[in-house]
Symmetry: D2
C-alpha cells in the first residue's frame, strides 16, 4: 500500500483527490490537513463523503504529522507549497504539487507572472512537469511533480501532436478557453457568487492569464490565450486556432502521439463536449479544417477538476510508483 | 459471471445501467437493445462511453436475441414491458422491470392510473416490489422484480420507519417532491426543452401523479403527492409532512429500520441536498420536528437515475443473485 | 415629480428599485446611498445601468443628504432601518422600509425571531404592512410602510381569499416554498457560492424561517413553513396545502378578492411557473382540489425581487402618493 | 399609429416582438399568425402575456388577413419568407424579415449556404441589410429590411470600426462566438433538450455556420467563425481576434463610429458580459491589446433575442417610419 498525505484537503481539488484515493486499491490515506476545518471530520465538510471515510482534518503542523508516508499531495494556492516541498523531499517523500509553484522552469518568468519571489528556485530544475502524455519517462523517475494547470492541460494536449510534427505557424496560435466556475475554487468571491455568474458568459484576464507562460513553455510557441467563465460547475472546453505551415497528415499525427495515452480520446464521429468527460479523467480531442483560411481548429475537453487537477495528480502518482497508469481512474463519466 | 440482457439501452436509465454494469466485476452484458439506435454502437449514441465498451445496439427481436442470459433488465416506458416479461420467465431468466407495469398489485388500480388493460395480471402477484430496504427477503427469492419509481423510492424511504411504528396520523400525509428534468427522460417535449425549463420552477400533475398509488400501496396510507420540476439535471428532494399520533422516539426508529441498509444515510449534522447524493446510490434522510404544529417533516434526497432507477435495479440484481448488495454501486458521488 | 432617496442602493433590491424608478415617469431619484460603494457611480457597480443613469452612491450621512425629498426607500438588512426611520418621519418624509424591522406588530415576536431589541417599538403600530391587496386603504394614508417579505407575499396572496371566507381548517396549513438564490442577496456566503448551489435542491430553516411570524400575523393562522433553495436566480413558487372546512366556491372567492388587484393573475388554463412572472410585478395563482384528501392545493408564483421586494415597494409608493397603482410597473416579464 | 402584422408570432422572436410592440406607444398590432397555434390566444401559448393582450393567433391565409397595415414582420425559418415578401411589397406594405432569405446579396452564395433556390432573387438588391449602425440612411428609405442574424450582429459591431479604418490584416480574423440555447429557437431537438445541454459546453458547425457569409459580406473580410453552445437561455458573447496592420487609435475609432448609435456601449471599466445586456437592446463592446502577438481582441455581447433579433427589428421599424430610434426599446436590462 502506498501511504499518502494530503495538504489542503478541503478545497475542491483536495476533496476530489480524497474521493479518488479512497477508491484506489493500492493507496491508503494517512492524513489530510485543512486550515479552515482543522479537527473536523472531512465528511462534515463534504457530506457526500458520509459512509466513505472517517478521516479527520489535521492542522498543517509538520512536526506533528507522520512522515511515514510515501508521497504527499499539496493542494494549496500558489505561493504556499514553495516552502513545504523541501521538507518532504529531504525525508525521501515524493511530492506532487497541484499548484503552480514548480511548473515554470524560468524563475524570472514565475516571479513576473505570480508576483512572488521564488524561495526554492534550485528545485525548479528537478521538478517534472506532470503531463504524462508528454513527460512519461521523466515522471517515472521524478521526486517532485508540478501538476499542470487545468487550462494548460486542455491546451497542451490539443497542440502537442502538431508541435512535435512542426506543423504550426509560430505567429498564429489562439486559444479561446471556456471554463466552469469550479475552476475558481471554493473561496468566496463576487465572480463565483451564484447570482452573478448564473446565466452569463464573460471573458477575463484577456491575454493575461497565468497559465499562459506554462503553456508557452511546454509547446514552445507564443500563444494568445483568452479564458472565459461559463455558467456551469465543471469542465473546460478549449478551442484552439492555428495556421498550418503545410497540410500534413493531421489525423495520423494525433493517433501516433496518443497511441499509448489511456486518457486521450480522439473523437471522429462527434465534437467534444464537456459533458462527455464529466467526472472522468479523459481528454477528448477533435479537429476541423478551415481550408478557406488555411487554418486548423482543434477542440479539447476535460473535466477541470479531474484531468485538469486531481485525476492527473493520481495518474502521475501511478506512474511514479510503477502502478497501472489508470489505477483508481477508471470511473465512467456521468451523463447526463 | 452473471450474463445480462438490457432492453431499452439508449434511454437514460438504460445508459446508466450499462455504465454501472460495465464496472460490476461479476457481470457481463450479453446484449443491449434499442429501437431508435439499432445497429449503432452505444458509444456513438453516448460518447462518454468511448473507450469503455464496443457494444452495438440490437433490435428487439426476441427470436434473434441470445437467451443464454441469467437476467434481463427492461428499461422501457410502461405498457411495453407487460408482454415481454412472460417470455423471459418461461425460459428461467429473471426479470427486473424498471417500468411501472408490475408495481401495482391491484389490476384495477394499475388500469385506472395508467389507462391500459393489463395483459398479464396473473403475474402481478408473483412480482416483487423491488425496494430492498422493505422487501429484502422476497427479493432474494424473486423471479420478477418491479423496480420502484423514482419519486416512490424517495418518499417510501422517508415514511417507512414511521409507518412500521404506527406513528402517523392517517389523514395527514403530504409529499411535496422536487425533481430534476432527467426524470422526464430523453424523449423530446416542450416541458424538457432547455429554454422552457431553465430558470423556472413549477408544479405538475398536482395530486394526480402515477407514483401516488404505488406509494400508497407500500406505506398503506393515503397521501397528497405534488411533484415539481426543478431547473437541474438530476436529483429528487422529497419534503414529507406528517402529523404524529404520539411523540415517539423517531431517531431510534429510523436507525433501527435502516440498520442493515447500506444505501440509506441518516444525516444528523446537515440537511439533505440532492448534491450530496449526485451520482451515488444513496438515499439521504433527515427529519425536523415542528412542535408548534405537532408535525414531523422528513426530507429525503436521491439521485433519481441511480437509487431512483438503475442503481436500485442493480442493487436488486445483487440481492437476487446472492452477491454483495453494494457490488458495482460503491461509486462516491460527485461534488461539486 | 416625487423626489426619492434610496438607502442601500447596491444590494439587489436597491439596484432593482433604481431600475424601476428610472423608468417611472413621475419620480426623480435625488440620491442613493451605499456603504460598500460610496462615491462610485452606480453604473460601475452595475454595468447594465450604463447609459441609464449617472447617479453616484453617497455615504449614509444623514446630515449631508438632502432632506428635500418626498419619500425614502430603505433597502438594508433588518436591524439597520430601525433607527433611521424616525429621522425621516420627523421631517415629514414618508418611509418605505424593504426590510423586516416594522413588519411584526408584536414587539416580543419581532425580538424573538430576529434576536434584536426593537428600539422604536412605538412606531410598530403606525407602520402599515405594505401588501396592497390586503391593506390598500391604510397604505393610502400611511407614513411608514413595512414592505412584506418575499416568501410572505407569495404565501399570503395564496391564502387570503380562503381566510376571508373562513374556509381553512386552522390546524392544517403547510407552505412548501421554493426560492431562487437571489433571495439571499449579494453578500458572499458558501450557500450562495455558484458551485455549491448549482444543480442542487435543499431545504433550510425548516419550520424556523423568519417570514413565518409575518405570515401568521397577516393570515391569522398557524402555519408550517419550509423554504427550499432552487438552482436558479429569481423566482419563488409557494405550494400551499390546506384542509377545507367546507367545499365552498373557491374560484369565486379568489375572483372577488382580487377583482381590483392589478398584479394578481388567477390562472385557469395552466399552472403557475416562476418563469411566467420573471421580471414582472405579477403574482400568479392557481389551485387544485385533492378531493380524496379533502385538501386544496394553492400554487403561487412571484419574482422575489419585484413583487417580492422592489416592485411591491414601488406599488406602495404609487398608492401612498395617489398615482396609478401600476405606474412604472407595467413591464412585460421576460420569456424565455 | 403604425399598424403592424406579425407572421410567425409563437416562436421566440415572434413572441418577444409582440412583447416589445405592446409597449411601443406608436404601434398597434393588427394581427399575428401562427401555424402551430392558430385560433389560440397568444396568452395561452405564452402565459407571461396574461393581462397584456387578448390577441388570437390567425392562420397564415393571405387572402383573409387585413392588408390595412403599414408594416409586416416575418419571423419564420429561412426559406419561408421568400415568397411572402412580394405579396406585401406590392400592396405598399413595408417588410421586415427576421429570417435569412434576403440578407445575402449574391444569390449563389445564399443558395450554396442555405441549400435552397432563391425564388425572388430580383429583390435581393432592393433589400437593405438592417444593421442600423452601418446602414442607417438606407434603412430610412427601405421597403424591405433583412434583419441581421444574431451572431452576425455581435460580430459585425465588433469589427466595423476597425474595418472602416483599414486596420485589420485580411488573413487573420477569428470569431469565437458563444450563444445561449434560445438561439436554436423553440423547435424540439436533442441539442436543445434540457438534460443534453445543461452543464455542457461544445462547439458546433465549426467554420461552417450560415452566419459566416453574411458577416463576410458586411465586413468585407474572410473570417474563421466558430459558434459554441452555452448552458444558458439568452445571450451571445463574441470574442473576436484580429491582427492589426498598424497600431492606430483604436479607442478613438470606436467612439467615432458609434457616436450616434444609441444602442452600442463601449465599456471602459469592465469587460462585457451577456448578463449586462440581458433583456435590453444594447450591444456592449470592449477591446484588449495583446501586444506580444500584435493582436487586438474585441469582445462583444448582446441579448440574442433582442439586439440579435426582435429588438433590432423594432429599431429598424423606428428608423423606417421616422420615429425616435429608441422608441419601445428603452427597457433596462435585468440583473441579476
Amino acid at each position: 500500500m502506498i501511504k499518502v498525505g494530503i495538504i489542503g484537503g478541503t478545497g475542491y481539488t483536495g476533496e476530489i483527490l480524497i474521493g479518488l484515493l479512497l477508491k484506489h486499491a493500492q493507496v491508503e490515506i494517512t492524513w489530510v490537513t485543512s486550515e479552515s476545518y482543522a479537527n473536523k471530520p472531512i465528511k462534515e465538510v463534504y457530506p457526500h463523503l458520509n459512509g466513505k471515510t472517517d478521516l479527520v482534518c489535521k492542522k498543517l503542523e509538520l512536526a506533528k504529522l507522520s512522515m511515514n508516508i510515501d508521497v504527499v499531495f499539496i493542494a494549496l494556492p500558489h505561493g504556499l507549497a514553495m516552502d513545504l516541498v523541501p521538507h518532504f523531499l529531504k525525508q525521501g517523500i515524493k511530492v506532487i504539487d497541484l499548484g503552480a509553484d514548480y511548473r515554470i522552469k524560468k524563475q524570472a518568468t514565475y516571479e513576473k507572472w505570480y508576483g512572488l519571489k521564488h524561495k526554492n528556485a534550485h528545485l525548479l530544475e528537478k521538478a517534472v512537469y506532470g503531463l504524462p502524455e508528454l513527460h512519461h519517462a521523466k515522471i517515472q523517475e521524478a521526486k517532485l511533480i508540478a501538476n499542470p494547470g487545468c487550462y494548460a492541460t486542455a491546451t497542451e494536449l490539443a497542440l502537442l501532436p502538431l508541435v512535435k510534427n512542426h506543423l504550426i505557424d509560430k505567429h498564429d496560435v489562439i486559444v479561446d478557453a471556456k471554463s466552469g466556475v469550479s475552476g475558481a475554487g471554493r473561496s468566496l468571491s463576487l465572480t463565483s457568487h451564484y447570482t452573478e455568474c448564473n446565466e452569463g458568459v464573460s471573458a477575463y484576464k484577456v491575454a493575461n492569464h497565468r497559465h499562459t507562460p506554462e503553456i508557452e513553455q511546454e509547446v514552445g510557441l507564443p500563444i494568445t490565450f483568452v479564458p472565459h467563465l461559463m455558467p456551469m460547475t465543471r469542465g473546460i472546453l478549449a478551442t484552439v486556432y492555428v495556421k498550418l505551415k503545410r497540410k500534413g497528415e493531421v489525423a495520423k499525427y494525433y493517433k501516433e502521439f496518443y497511441e499509448n495515452a489511456p486518457f486521450v480520446r480522439i473523437l471522429e464521429k462527434t465534437l467534444p463536449s464537456t459533458k462527455y468527460v464529466y467526472g472522468s479523467n479523459y481528454c477528448d480531442l477533435a479537429f476541423v479544417r478551415d481550408d478557406k483560411n488555411e487554418r486548423l481548429i482543434i477542440i479539447s475537453a476535460i473535466d477541470n477538476l479531474i484531468k485538469g487537477a486531481s485525476g492527473q495528480a493520481v495518474q502521475n502518482m501511478n506512474i511514479m510508483f510503477g502502478l497501472d497508469e489508470t489505477a483508481g481512474l477508471d470511473a465512467i463519466g456521468m451523463y447526463p
